[in-house]
């Protein structure tokens, strides 16, 4: 493209090196020079928490690679066959071809079990990584403008990841996953009016039928990962486009990014990190077994085992069902199974609660500016408290999902745990909210104290007249900047209710609500005013004691 002149020049001096000629060839067709020029020096800030997304990306790649290997040997069919593989305790048992081929992968394919375990462990870690990555973004306020869309991309990835995981977990058609599919069928059946039709549509007739493994297979290996791959690409393009956020600090502003360039530093780091992630997951897969389907046996609708739980990311839905009272009402000759239907309704609401939060916050603050500097969680107490409350909610449901194991391992009554979860479902998030907010305010006070009075050195000095004082060491300019760089909002006011002609205008309900919420967010009760320059000067000019 832009290099025709230079290449003729180099030809005049003799043949250009092979590498240069290949690069020229590629540039003429792909435009790599301008692409590289724009992106090679792209700066990324350094912080360990910015690498959580990378953990997810790499485990996703590992899942795809191992998944491809598994498809080479897996038969997504529910035809009944008799087992004659290497595992003795299942000899001669009837099972679906799906289960049989998974047994074959586990015992008779070279490296099959290791790859299966890598695939499954990587899936658990992928979801856990996304959870933590999402919480990092949440608590630092990285979802604010311009990154709201990317927040939603990430959220969708998490939800799709859950369902991809669930469909994959169901494929081996073992007794554990079959119970999970049965659970799902029950939830679908509880939908009023259309539940039965939906279930028959999904399973091609009465459960379990002979279709669902093949259908879940298409969904698991094609539909959902395809959408996810697209979202991942979009997610990364947006990260490039928005540039990465950074924590406040000297030299860091809303208009710059301080860090290391993509090439060579980040390419080396990220490339190396991929192999570290692969190594850790492979090591775990070599050490610990996951989903040992040979212990569980093939699925049969007339069998069930205790301790039948989904993988962790679906655990909260299990909790919702386990703790819900078994309500049922009879409505005009139709049975409404509220004990299952209500959890089915709450299930998406739990997820949506965290997904919509950024939009609620931006509406309350009314802030339309771009934000590239991250908040320290303590400096946004209401947001932090909301996030902790949500995590608490989620964890309470996870406890409910594993209530039987809590009962056996802590020698408790399962009924007591169920009641604890029922009450904590409503109470624990509120307590978590209040406690977190108080802790954040306490930390803000501490920061204020540190800025104004310096760091406590622990050195006790005795003055000539006998008084003991502790020596406080003033903070450095850098530290002072970091502690005071955040911006504090003022609560929004409703504004004049009378226009210039003295005519009273109607105040909308939404305006009042917003003012109220804003007061709750940024009122006197919700933030500690950060020290002003005057205060700092006053205190450091020698008038005050500390």
């Amino acid at each position: 493209m832009s290099t025709t002149e230079s290449s003729t020049e180099s030809r005049a001096r003799g043949k250009a090196p092979a590498g240069e000629r290949v690069a020229d060839w590629a540039d003429g067709r792909l435009g790599i020079y301008s692409l590289a020029k724009a992106n090679m020096r792209k700066i990324f800030p350094d912080h360990w928490s910015f690498m959580l997304g990378e953990v997810c990306l790499y485990s996703f790649i590992i899942i795809i690679l191992t998944g491809v290997y598994l498809t080479l040997f897996f038969h997504p069919s529910m035809n009944e066959v008799e087992y004659h593989g290497s595992y003795v305790p299942l000899q001669g048992q009837l099972m679906s071809e799906a289960f049989n081929s998974t047994m074959h992968i586990s015992f008779d394919v070279r490296g099959g079990l290791l790859i299966r375990q890598i695939h499954h462990w990587a899936a658990l870690i992928f979801l856990a990584g996304m959870f933590v990555h999402m919480m990092r973004v949440f608590f630092t306020g990285a979802f604010r403008k311009p990154r709201e869309v990317n927040w939603l991309f990430g959220f969708l990835l998490f939800v799709l990841g859950m369902f991809t995981g669930f469909t994959g977990y169901s494929l081996p058609d073992d007794l554990l996953s079959g119970t999970g599919v049965r659970f799902m069928e029950g939830a679908i059946l509880s939908v009023p009016i259309v539940g039965t039709y939906l279930s028959f549509f999904l399973f091609g007739g009465e459960f379990p039928g002979g279709d669902f493994v093949a259908r879940f297979y298409s969904i698991h290996i094609l539909l959902l990962p395809g959408i996810m791959l697209g979202l991942v690409v979009g997610h990364l393009i947006l990260v490039f486009y928005h540039k990465h956020t950074q924590f406040a600090g000297p030299g860091k502003s809303n208009n710059n990014v301080v860090g290391m360039p993509l090439l060579p530093v980040y390419m080396a780091k990220a490339g190396g990190f991929f192999f570290l992630v692969f190594g850790v997951i492979a090591a775990i897969s070599a050490i610990a077994t996951i989903n040992p389907i040979w212990s569980m046996g093939p699925y049969r609708p007339d069998q069930v085992s205790t301790g039948a739980q989904p993988d962790w990311y679906m655990g909260f839905s299990e909790g919702l069902i386990r703790v819900m009272p078994g309500w049922e009402i009879d409505f005009w000759g139709h049975t409404l199974v509220l004990g299952v239907f209500i959890p089915l309704i709450i299930f998406p609401l739990v997820l949506v609660a965290i997904a919509v939060y950024p939009f609620i916050e931006s509406w309350v603050t009314g802030d339309k500016r771009e934000h590239h500097i991250l908040d320290r969680p303590r400096n946004a107490p209401t947001r932090t408290a909301f996030g902790v409350a949500w995590i608490t909610w989620y964890m309470v449901l996870l406890i409910g999902g594993g209530n039987d194991l809590w009962a056996t391992h802590f020698h408790l009554s399962i009924n007591a745990i169920t009641w604890f979860v029922r009450i904590a479902f409503f109470v624990a998030p509120v307590i978590a909210f209040v406690v977190t907010k108080r802790i954040c305010l306490g930390l803000q006070r501490r920061d204020r104290e540190k800025v104004l009075h310096g760091r406590e050195t622990g050195i006790i000095k005795r003055l000539p007249h006998g008084e003991f004082i502790e020596v406080h060491e003033p903070l450095s300019q850098d530290a002072l900047h970091t502690l005071t760089a955040h911006e504090q909002y003022k609560p929004a006011e409703i504004g004049p209710t009378v226009d210039e002609n003295g005519v009273e205008r109607k105040v909308k309900g939404s305006e009042k609500l917003r003012a109220k919420l804003s007061e709750a967010y940024f009122g006197e009760e919700s933030q500690i005013p950060k020290p002003t320059v005057e205060e700092y000067k006053e205190i450091t000019s020698g008038h005050g004691h500390h």
């Binding site: 912080h47 360990w48 953990v55 305790p89 870690i125 554990l176 040992p292 069998q303 962790w312 194991l405």
Partner: protein, 269 residues
């Protein structure tokens, strides 16, 4: 003769005649009674029952009543059979330490001989299942795969896929079957201890029980190999999830911190 007739009115005469008659009839009995062997057994059995009764009076009677008839603190033991006693006492569950949702197993303080005596006493109260023999619970002629199918159909809903145990309502639980003596598994199926339903031979035949025991030995025995590495308790996705979070994500975060801490130094120019 005179001497004899002179003493026939002696006050002790009746007693002497009685003694002679007893000796005579006893002698006749000794001559015509059934074989010696059986007689010796009968004595040992009654001795065992006698000894068992003493043990029972010390260890069991306070809850189950002096005659095994049961009280408000413990059920009647009439008809539970020797198998139930052998299971409950040999696994240390009985005598119970304290009342509760379920009596857990603990260290057994009775010798096998004492347990047999107790069992003999309880068996004497009413007919019940007897202690199985090695031929009944041993591994010969067992079909492991069939046992697995039976286990998943009848046992797994409380005891988990491979007998790792599980929770029941109100603090009750199905215990882990790891390291349980095959004899005791057989007895538990036969008698249905505590919260467990019983599976008499009409429900699960002798062969079925043998198969189940062989399956448990294969998947949850001392020589069982975990094919995929650490089995994390064999409890399924909850322990796997916990492991993925703590060791999987934990290790990756540690690695991320390590990588982030090692960065290229900006060139001073």
């Amino acid at each position: 003769m005179k001497k004899l007739s002179a003493r026939r009115r002696h006050p002790a005469a009746a007693l002497v005649v009685l003694l002679l008659a007893l000796v005579f009839s006893g002698g006749l009995y000794a001559l015509f009674a059934p074989a010696d062997q059986a007689k010796a057994d009968e004595t040992a059995q009654s001795l065992a029952i006698e000894e068992g009764k003493k043990l029972y009076a010390v260890g069991c009677a306070s809850c189950h009543g002096t005659g095994g008839q049961g009280t408000s603190d413990g059920p009647s033991l009439v008809g539970v059979g020797a198998a139930a006693v052998d299971f409950q006492v040999a696994t240390g569950r009985m005598p119970a330490q304290q009342p509760g949702a379920q009596v857990p197993k603990k260290k057994n303080i009775y010798s096998q001989a004492e347990i047999d005596q107790l069992a003999a006493f309880i068996a004497s109260l009413g007919a019940g299942p007897s202690v199985p023999t090695e031929a009944e619970y041993g591994p010969e002629g067992a079909d492991i795969a069939k046992g697995g199918e039976l286990f998943r159909t009848n046992c797994a809903q409380c005891h988990n896929f491979t007998g790792k145990g599980g929770a029941l309502t109100h603090g009750k639980f199905a215990p882990s079957l790891e390291g349980v003596d095959p004899k005791h598994i057989y007895e538990a199926m036969q008698t249905g201890p505590q919260n467990m339903p019983s599976f008499p031979d009409a429900t699960l035949s002798e062969q079925n029980k043998k198969d189940i025991i062989a399956y448990l030995h294969a998947v949850n025995g001392d020589e069982t190999v975990s094919n995929g590495g650490l089995e994390l308790g064999g409890l399924g996705p909850v322990s796997e999830g916990l492991f993925a979070w703590i060791f999987g994500l934990g290790a990756l975060i540690a690695v991320a911190v390590w990588v982030a801490a090692r960065t290229a130094k900006a060139k001073k120019s």
